[in-house]
């Protein structure tokens, strides 16, 4: 660590100013000589921005190169010579968008040349605001990619991804995330402000180059890199506050008392005479701040960028915190007279959090509001008012009497060494070595007064895990253009090894709460044999050979072919390797002579692709017959371990295989003011993995993890972008994404493995029903329920087809699926001179969601000791028991105002300060929905999507004030 700091100090010395400056003045205008406000001029460490009349003043050394840039115009460069009064006219770039570079995995191409379904997002396409993870910036930005944060305002929450429907039964659903070349990277380990671009490979032809990790798509994140020529220091700071946007509303003490007195007088014994707002007792107004300092600069041969990032995020729940400390440096160097390029990255990230206690939110909801918080007489419960009922604990005690801390420290280093074989133009050999060492530790202490463990005299828990990831990738790349033929080829090999080591300890029975988790050996449970300890180690290895050829003729006819040979240690011994081919073709019709005359049409491209990918996101060792320590056995006066099989061997265990066909059209019209993309895909996933019941004997263990089923997903995705307004002062850019997907479980049985209908999604008492079924021929996430009819005269729900007070399960109706019919995202940026307003809306239409809070807590029968939903008062005729029916399966359609931000670029003409911007933003501001629960946007991952959990974190709106300064 010390050495690391020293090297940073050395880097710092490079940002020194140059001497011998001239003072340049002048104006920048557009093609019609109208002044351009906000254009930037950059010369080494010198920097200027034009004012409202397009005027600038810039200090620049003689002979240096100045680059003038403005969004939507070609960059213009010139050398500083004698002339210091300049009139610069920029030309609009005809196909700025088409020439944007697009990362395609192991290489780059341009938007016009790409033949797969690939979406490329740049900084300006992403929302401004405050994010706990860069993943959040993808919400509503990519057609067909659903990004959900099911845990609302929890600063430690993770985002879930779902690309083009559910394609698996039991393997993972997260895309392969590649950050700056490192596969399988953790998006929480970068700062969202450092993201330069995000590319999403959606279809099989694009992601087949990643073989068994390609099915869920590939997200390639590129962070800001060292660049030669410009020395700058940039500071970004922001502070944000959150307010509750949505939560489950229990009755207030007044409502509770009113309801009991008027509707359930028999339960007046549950009125304790106090007025407690339990939610308020455990929450606060969270304030968070984030700071990012980036220093970059360098010369043609050596450049660097160093980032320091500090974040302190508070959660809505008291004591719930998340902090991040990140230091990262990127160095690029060109050595050996152009023969070799080096790119070196070193980062250290520490994330410290105090995780929320989700159970406390649920307890606060159902806690009797007429109970007091404290009771000085309840000494054995630490003075907290306590009623000993199962699953009924004082939420304030749950917060106060628990201390939890998680820490993740990741040290990662990687080096890319590219050997340019100069004698052969366009040939290079690239080697990439990456190592990441992650240490995770977790501590928790529940004091002797923590509600559910009173009597245990304090429970301490710690765990310490270590994750090693070593990757080596070697590629031979060739690219050239001759006679109109553009060729790009790559041959590669990649090797990755992961090592995990996990340990945990638990002990209780402490003399004093003073020790917390810091003197664990002193707990008496250890001596009594009731403490727990475990360690676990596992490793996996992943190897692949791959090749790809991309060809185009005059940027008119385009083709790409790739093939990967992929192997993983997780697969059965007879099935270690698989082939993953892909082919895609493109035709840019606008390049044809017969279309050149159509003036309004700037681009029309047809694309078609087919690719095979796999999913190997399941646990290690699933193919092996392993023995584990089983139950203990009393043998000859002492307890000994028994040994038993823990899994069956499956030498044929392999990846889930997906074949995907994709066709698409890209177009752009009216001087590229309007453009878009339309894609149609059909993906068939076979060899789906599932844990099947098998007879024992002949098997060793009662379930077998094996490849049986198949699922199809078919859909349409539309992306439209337009610049409806573009004048001297006003620019309005707008971008709409829309997607529709149809999922179908084709089969999940065969002759040998037949599990028949599977009822899944068990909702516990008082609902007491399986909410969904796995049925061949239907979509996953299909809800089944009896149909609700009306409230009967006795106050109970009457259901259709009821017989003897019951609707047999066979007569339940299919209510619909959790997946929406249509998802929409609409982003807008309006710029007026230095003011920029952006606004993002997101919607889902169709889809069902199970309202767990209503189903569990909207019944008069439940009131008494426990509170119920305040919404019961809307229909007081309903006084009966909870009966599961489709009344709890609601329409999940919503329209959300995700983001509104307003930023202002302060015009400056300052020697030291080159740029300054301030912004305010509001996130998750509004949700328009008919759904009566907390948030209709619930987890869509896994086999039981669309079920809102009763254990949830409230949704919050975030308001952020930020500033960005460039020196």
């Amino acid at each position: 660590m010390k050495r690391f700091i020293t090297s940073l100090l050395l880097l710092g010395m490079f940002w020194t100013a140059l001497a011998q400056n001239s003072t340049l003045t002048g104006t920048v205008s557009d093609e019609r000589d109208a002044p351009l406000a906000g254009a930037t001029l950059v010369c080494g460490s010198h920097y200027a921005v034009t004012d409202q009349d397009g005027r600038f003043t810039l200090q620049a050394p003689q002979g240096a190169t100045v680059t003038v840039s403005f969004l939507g115009y070609d960059d213009y460069s010139f050398s500083v010579s004698g002339n210091t009064r300049l009139t610069i006219r920029l030309t609009p770039s005809a196909d700025t968008i088409l020439n944007e570079s697009v990362a395609i995995g192991y290489g780059k191409t341009t938007k016009k040349e790409v033949t797969g379904a690939v979406v490329s997002l740049k900084t300006e396409d992403l929302d401004k605001g405050s994010f706990t993870s860069a993943a959040g910036m993808l919400q509503g930005k990519v057609a067909g990619l659903t990004v959900v944060n099911p845990d609302g305002g929890d600063p430690n929450a993770s985002y879930q991804f779902l690309l083009r429907g559910t394609n698996t039964l039991s393997a993972g659903q997260g895309p392969l995330i590649i950050i700056d070349g490192v596969a399988d990277a953790d998006v929480r380990n970068i700062n969202f402000q450092e993201v330069e671009s995000i590319d999403v490979l959606k279809d099989g032809s694009a992601s087949a180059i990643y073989g068994t990790r390609g099915t869920n798509g590939v997200v390639i994140i590129t962070t800001k890199r060292a660049k030669s020529g410009t020395t700058s220091v940039q500071y970004d700071g922001q502070v944000s506050v959150q307010t509750v946007q949505s939560r489950a509303m229990p009755m207030t003490a007044e409502e509770f008392e009113y309801t009991i007195k008027n509707y359930a007088p028999g339960k007046s014994g549950s009125l304790y005479g106090h007025n407690t707002d339990w939610f308020k007792e455990i929450t606060r107004t969270p304030i968070s701040h984030k700071h990012n300092l980036a220093v970059s600069g360098g010369t043609e041969k050596f450049s660097h960028r160093t980032v320091i990032n500090v974040e302190q995020n508070q959660g809505l729940q008291k004591k719930n915190e998340a902090a991040k400390y990140l230091i990262k440096t990127n160095i690029t160097q060109h050595i050996l007279e152009g023969w070799m390029d080096l790119d070196f990255n070193l980062s250290y990230v520490k994330r410290v959090s105090s995780p929320a206690n989700y159970g406390a939110f649920r307890q606060a909801f159902m806690r009797n509001p007429t109970e007091p918080v404290y009771d000085p007489d309840a000494t054995i419960y630490g003075g907290y008012y306590t009623l000993t009922e199962s699953d009924y604990t004082n939420p304030v005690a749950m917060i106060n009497e628990r201390e939890a801390r998680n820490e993740t420290a990741t040290l990662a280093a990687n080096l890319r060494a590219t050997l340019n074989i100069l004698p052969v133009k366009g040939l290079k050999w690239d080697n990439f070595v990456s190592y990441s060492d992650e240490k995770y530790s977790s501590q928790e202490y529940k004091t002797s007064y923590y509600p559910s463990s009173v009597g245990k005299k304090g429970v301490a828990y710690t765990s310490a895990n270590a994750y090693d990831d070593f990757q080596w990738e070697s590629t031979l790349q060739y690219s050239n253009v001759f006679n109109g033929h553009s060729i790009q080829g790559i041959l590669g090999y990649t090797w990755q090894q992961k090592m995990n080591w996990e340990s945990s300890m638990e002990n209780y029975g402490f003399d004093s709460d003073f020790y917390k988790y810091n003197n664990m050996g002193s707990g008496t449970a250890l001596k009594e044999g009731l403490a727990e300890m475990s360690t676990y180690r596992s490793s996996s290895r992943y190897i692949a050979f791959f090749g790809r050829a991309i060809w185009n003729y005059k940027e008119k006819y385009l083709a790409s072919v790739s093939l990967r040979r992929d192997g993983s240690s997780r697969f059965g011994k007879n099935q270690k390797w698989g082939w993953f081919p892909a082919v895609s073709l493109g035709w840019r019709m606008t390049e044809e002579p017969w279309m050149k005359d159509i003036q309004w049409l700037n681009e029309l491209k047809l694309r078609a692709g087919f690719g095979v990918t796999g999913n190997q996101d399941f646990a290690n060792y699933k193919s092996l017959m392993l023995m584990s320590t089983g139950t203990s056995f009393y043998y000859n006066g002492e307890w000994i371990n028994s040994y038993a099989p823990a899994s069956n061997s499956n030498p044929y265990l392999r990846w889930e295989r997906k074949n995907e066909f994709n066709v698409g059209i890209d177009f752009s019209v009216l001087d590229n003011r309007i453009g878009g993309t339309l894609d149609y895909y059909y993906r068939l996933t076979t060899d789906l993995l599932y844990e099947y019941n098998v007879p024992v004997p002949p098997y060793d263990y009662k379930t077998l993890f094996t490849n049986v089923g198949s699922i199809s997903n078919m859909g349409i995705e539309l992306t439209l972008y337009a610049t409806p307004v573009k004048t001297r002062d006003w620019v309005w850019n707008t971008n709409l994404v829309a997607a529709h997907n149809e999922n179908k479980l084709i089969k999940f049985t065969n002759e040998e493995f037949q599990n028949q209908d599977y009822e899944i999604g068990w909702a516990a008492t008082p609902v007491g029903a399986y909410l969904q079924r796995l049925t061949e021929g239907e979509s996953l996430g299909s809800f089944y329920a009896p149909r609700y009819s009306h409230v009967g005269p006795d106050g109970s729900d009457v259901l259709q087809d009821e017989f003897m007070g019951k609707v047999p399960v066979a007569k339940w109706s299919r209510i619909g699926t959790a997946y929406p019919d249509l998802t929409l995202g609409w982003s807008n940026t309006v710029r007026f001179r230095q003011l920029t307003l952006s606004l993002t809306l997101r919607a889902a239409i169709g889809g069902k969601v199970f309202n767990s809070y209503r189903a569990n807590y909207e019944s008069l029968q439940q009131i008494g000791l426990r509170n119920i939903l305040s919404s019961w008062l809307d229909n007081t005729a309903y006084t009966g028991e909870i009966r599961y029916s489709d009344k709890y399966i609601e329409d999940a359609s919503y329209l959300k105002l995700d983001n509104v931000s307003l930023s202002y670029d302060i015009p400056l003409n300052n020697k030291f300060l080159h740029g300054a911007r301030i912004f305010v933003s509001g996130q998750n501001l509004l949700c328009i929905t008919g759904y009566k629960g907390v948030d209709p946007e619930v987890s869509l991952s896994g086999l039981t999507p669309g079920i809102e959990s009763t254990s949830y974190y409230p949704r919050t709106s975030t308001f952020t004030l930020g500033a960005s300064l460039t020196f």
Binding site: G455, I543, M625, S649, D700
Partner: protein, 500 residues
């Protein structure tokens, strides 16, 4: 660095390295490992005491235990407990599946152990005895199967190909009897401490006695004399005696009780998971009785004594108080408990049938609770999956004595039976006068067994044997012959097409 990576990779090697478990191929190296492997045949017995097991299934299936919905609305769970008690059990019932798993897991473990022993050339001293124990244990698991199910999948070796075939009761009956008689000679005769919790000759004869006694109902053949002989083989050796105090059989540290013939040892330390913890305290006690009892848990308040069963005891029968918790409740130190100042904590064992069913609820103070196994009050019970220390006597000497009496009575030798010293002691130990020969009717003997062995898991086959099982009782309607055996669970049929 690149070179070192190349050296490391061994380019295409994808073998998995294992660290925290053992591959089967590398396991059997020492004799100790064989014993540890065979231990799982025995440890499968521990499933008996868990929350959902064959044991908790059969006690709910008889007139002993019922599970009304509790005051908080708990324990309806889609009617799965209700189904078991009123005998309309769906084949997808979770309790049924777990009950089935008890014996299938046991058979599987035994088969696996036996196959392994066959494959291994290495000899160790007690090999024949261990094999005989495992075979007899497998016979016991098969007895559990044929006791409850008409057809069962049958397998004695993992080498058999295909799905195990479905077999009828006659076939399984013959197999069990032959297996035990063939192996009994190799078993330990004297139940020394080393053999606690293991199959001895005593246990084997007791299982045989159960087979013969139920033969009439299971295979339509009366085998009373064989039953008498099997019981006599145990009684005549004198290795077992009745405990002086009934409660000694169920105390926290009951491992030295002279009455046990086959025990399932349990421990708060070693049996603490959902497949091996003795958890009856969690299933039956209300949360507010736990801390007064010295239990640091919030128990689930479910299983209750069936009111008519509670009412069936002779007022003088001390086994009622020794088996059930009802009336005034006391804390661990014997102080009477109060609900609030001045209001005593009294549980009423009587409940009208109207408290039973989906839409009904019992009150917090209705329904006797199971109190047969003394609750340890040292604070070691902390809920979750921490099980009790009391060992469970699957077969105990009093049961053998009563089987012997029954075999005699059924052969019209009631006078001999009435004079039997151990039988008289069972009665006097319970505070009752010994039965005279005339009192010794089958009906009285049925109730004697019911009260002596209440909730120990034999009542279901006893009720069938004494023709009581199909009768109506509290909340349960009268049933027909087809009700005598249980449906094969859906999950088992899904996994084995031969069971369709």
């Amino acid at each position: 660095m690149v070179l070192s990576a190349a050296a490391l990779c061994a380019c295409t090697n994808l073998d998995e390295e294992i660290y925290s478990k053992i591959a089967k191929e590398n396991f059997f190296n020492t004799e100790e490992q064989f014993v540890k492997y065979s231990a799982r045949a025995y440890s499968s017995l521990q499933h008996w005491g868990t929350e959902k097991s064959l044991w908790t299934f059969v006690i709910q299936n008889t007139n002993e235990v019922c599970v009304p919905v509790n005051p908080n609305g708990g324990w309806w769970d889609d009617g799965r407990y209700n189904e078991v008690h009123v005998h309309s059990i769906s084949y997808s019932n979770r309790l049924l599946e777990m009950a089935w798993d008890y014996w299938t897991n046991g058979v599987t473990a035994c088969n696996d152990v036996l196959d392994m022993f066959e494959n291994v050339e290495k000899d160790f001293e007690a090999k024949d005895r261990v094999i005989a124990e495992v075979k007899t244990l497998r016979a016991y698991y098969y007895m559990c199967a044929m006791d409850n199910w008409q057809h069962i999948p049958f397998s004695v070796s993992k080498k058999e190909s295909g799905y195990p075939p479905k077999k009828e009761r006659d076939f399984v009956f013959d197999f069990i009897v032959k297996e035990i008689t063939d192996n009994i000679q190799y078993l330990q005769e004297e139940p020394t401490g080393e053999y606690y919790g293991r199959i001895t000759q005593g246990a084997a004869y007791a299982i045989l006695a159960k087979m013969y006694l139920n033969a009439e109902k299971w295979i339509g053949k009366q085998m009373w004399a064989e039953a008498e002989a099997a019981c006599n083989a145990i009684i005549s050796k004198g290795h077992y005696t009745l405990a002086s105090n009934y409660k000694d059989n169920f105390s926290v540290y009951n491992e030295n009780c002279p009455e046990q013939i086959l025990a399932i040892p349990f421990s708060t330390v070693y049996t603490t998971s959902d497949h091996n913890a003795f958890l009856i305290y969690m299933s039956t006690l209300p949360a507010d009785l736990c801390r007064p009892f010295g239990i640091n848990a919030d128990a689930w308040d479910g299983l209750c004594g069936e009111p008519d069963f509670l009412a069936s005891y002779d007022p003088a029968d001390t086994r009622k108080k020794d088996t059930w918790l009802y009336g005034q409740m006391y804390d661990k130190d014997g102080n009477p408990l109060e609900l609030e100042p001045g209001v005593p904590y009294i549980i009423d064992p009587d409940m009208p049938e109207s408290v039973y069913g989906k839409d009904a609820r019992r009150t917090a103070l209705q329904g006797a609770r199971i109190g047969k196994w003394t609750y340890q009050s040292d604070g070691r019970l902390t809920g979750g999956q921490v099980g009790m220390d009391n060992d469970f006597f699957l077969i105990r000497y009093a049961d053998v004595v009563l089987m012997y009496v029954e075999a005699l009575v059924r052969q019209d030798k009631a006078a001999t039976a009435a004079n039997l010293e151990d039988f008289r002691k069972i009665r006097t130990r319970a505070g009752l006068a010994p039965m005279t020969a005339t009192e010794l009717t089958l009906d009285n003997l049925y109730w004697e067994r019911a009260h002596e062995l209440a909730i120990e898991g034999w009542q279901r086959q006893d009720m069938i044997r004494f023709d009581k099982y199909l009768e109506a009782w509290w909340a349960k309607p009268e049933k027909t012959e087809s009700d005598l055996t249980l449906p094969i669970p859906k999950s088992a049929i899904a996994a084995n097409p031969n069971l369709k």
